[in-house]
């Protein structure tokens, strides 16, 4: 949703770009994938097998709701994984969940 690192107490990390479903998304180092997605207004990025939207839920890596595909590796938890410049993130229904 919104970033608050511009508040006086914090400075954000270096700007980097990640690619989310083919789209370039600006982000800042120190964010997790979930953080970067939320900060750019994405609230739901996974689709379940039944087509339901899901995003961040537990935030600490225990619920597996937030998973994405990162550089080809499926089932990566967006809430735990720090972004890196050029990282390729695929959201939506991971291949294995497609009927």
């Amino acid at each position: 949703m919104s970033r608050i690192e511009d508040s006086s107490r914090f400075r954000r990390g270096q700007p980097v770009t990640i690619v989310v479903d083919g789209e370039r998304v600006p982000a800042y180092r120190g964010k997790t994938i979930a953080g970067a997605l939320l900060a750019t207004g994405h609230r739901a990025w996974r689709r379940t097998r039944h087509g339901q939207p899901r995003g961040l839920f537990c935030g600490i890596g225990v619920c597996f709701d937030c998973t994405v595909t990162v550089n080809g590796t499926t089932n990566v938890r967006a809430c735990l994984t720090p972004i890196a410049d050029g990282m390729i993130v695929e959201t939506g229904i991971p291949m294995e969940h497609q009927p």
Partner: protein, 376 residues
């Protein structure tokens, strides 16, 4: 003993694994009011933890006929049981990494064809063509198209609950601790549940207690040579549909199948040494499962193990089951010691036991499965 708790049953089945549940199912369908005792819940042991393979090929010749008859029953059960037991005939591939193994498989295939089981030998290029998901280390394979798999979590329960709907009394969390005889005739089973001990008067017991069978048969003075061993499985997270067959390699020591939901189940095709009822999963075994799986199916190298578990096998000295009356004791049938093949054979074992009691004789010979074969 609390005399106020007494029941009667024409037949008592001890053990709610697939064998006990199948017996209850077929007996109930024939109108016999069975009582089944299970000390845990239905299918909680090997019957609910196994690899799910329903295989006829690569069997001991003595049990090949039973396996083939069982497959016919599996087809019927798939059409009738609820919940859906996920049985399907996706084929079974037995792999060879060396010439010796390959020629053994070839010999076996001749015998199987003679016995009326359709199997095929695949050379390396045929294997590549038919199963491109396998690593390139295999020289060839034997294939049986009518083999398949089902979901072990569902089968015993579906059988038991169907029996219940046809009038069977299913007592879970109830353990039989003694079988009593008078003269040479079984008269009752003593059992205990959360409320305490009670008596079930019965002239007929079917003892299908898996690896625990010897403990209870001892109360009758009957020695049943079954020893426990542990066997473990792992499953991956869901994967894209990769294959339909049940594949196994004794050289790598693993087998694999992809469940309907997409997870890949990986088990050890060779048993772990040691007689034990311990059901923790040894960490070195998990490692072996992971290594074997990744060697057999390269696509698994990018996958994650989601869960592992362990069940208790029931091995006899000659590796096939005991489905048998006991000389000198009327009203006591043993059906146990399936030695790691009981999931496939459960339905036919249950059907034959039912015929035995209802018609006086099973429709297939059970000579090879007599307990007396060990009493030489």
């Amino acid at each position: 003993m609390n005399a106020s708790r007494k029941m009667n049953a024409p037949v008592v089945i001890i053990g709610g694994g697939i064998v006990g549940c199948a017996a209850a199912y077929y007996l109930s369908k024939s109108g016999v009011q069975v009582t089944l005792l299970e000390r845990s819940v239905l299918g909680d042991e090997a019957s609910g933890r196994n690899g799910g393979g329903v295989r006829q090929q690569c069997r001991d010749r003595r049990e090949r006929g039973l396996a083939m008859a069982s497959v016919r029953l599996w087809q019927e059960l798939q059409a009738t049981l609820e919940p859906d037991i996920e049985y399907r005939q996706g084929g079974n591939i037995r792999l060879a990494t060396d010439e010796k193994r390959l020629s053994d498989l070839r010999c076996q295939s001749e015998e199987e064809l003679q016995d009326g089981l359709p199997v095929e030998m695949w050379d390396q290029s045929e294997l590549r063509r038919r199963a491109p998901y396998l690593a390139e280390i295999f020289l060839g394979a034997k294939y049986c198209a009518s083999d398949g798999m089902a979901n072990p979590l569902l089968v015993s329960r579906a059988l038991g609950w169907a029996a219940q709907r046809s009038g069977a009394r299913i007592l879970t969390h109830t353990e039989a601790f003694q079988i009593e005889i008078q003269g040479r005739q079984v008269t009752s089973v003593l059992a205990k549940d959360a409320q305490g001990e009670f008596v079930i008067e019965t002239p007929q017991v079917i003892h299908a207690g898996g690896p625990w069978t010897p403990h209870l048969s001892q109360t009758l003075g009957v020695v049943v040579p079954i020893v426990p061993a542990r066997s473990s499985l792992a499953i991956t997270q869901r994967m894209p549909r990769l294959f339909d067959e049940f594949v196994s390699s004794h050289d790598l020591g693993v087998y694999a199948r992809q469940a309907r939901e997409g997870q890949i189940h990986i088990g050890r095709s060779v048993s772990e040494p040691g007689e034990t009822f311990d059901q923790t999963t040894p960490l070195p075994t998990i490692e072996k499962l992971a290594r074997g799986a990744a060697q057999m199916i390269p696509a698994l190298r990018g996958s994650n193990f989601l869960r592992t578990w362990t069940g208790t096998l029931e091995n006899t000295p000659d590796g096939i089951a005991i489905i048998s009356a006991v000389d000198g004791i009327a009203g006591y049938l043993i059906a146990a010691g399936f030695s790691g093949h009981g999931f496939c054979l459960g339905p036919i074992a249950g059907k034959l036991l039912s015929e035995w009691l209802v018609e006086g004789e099973p429709s297939m010979s059970l000579r090879e499965f007599r307990l007396a074969r060990f009493q030489k």
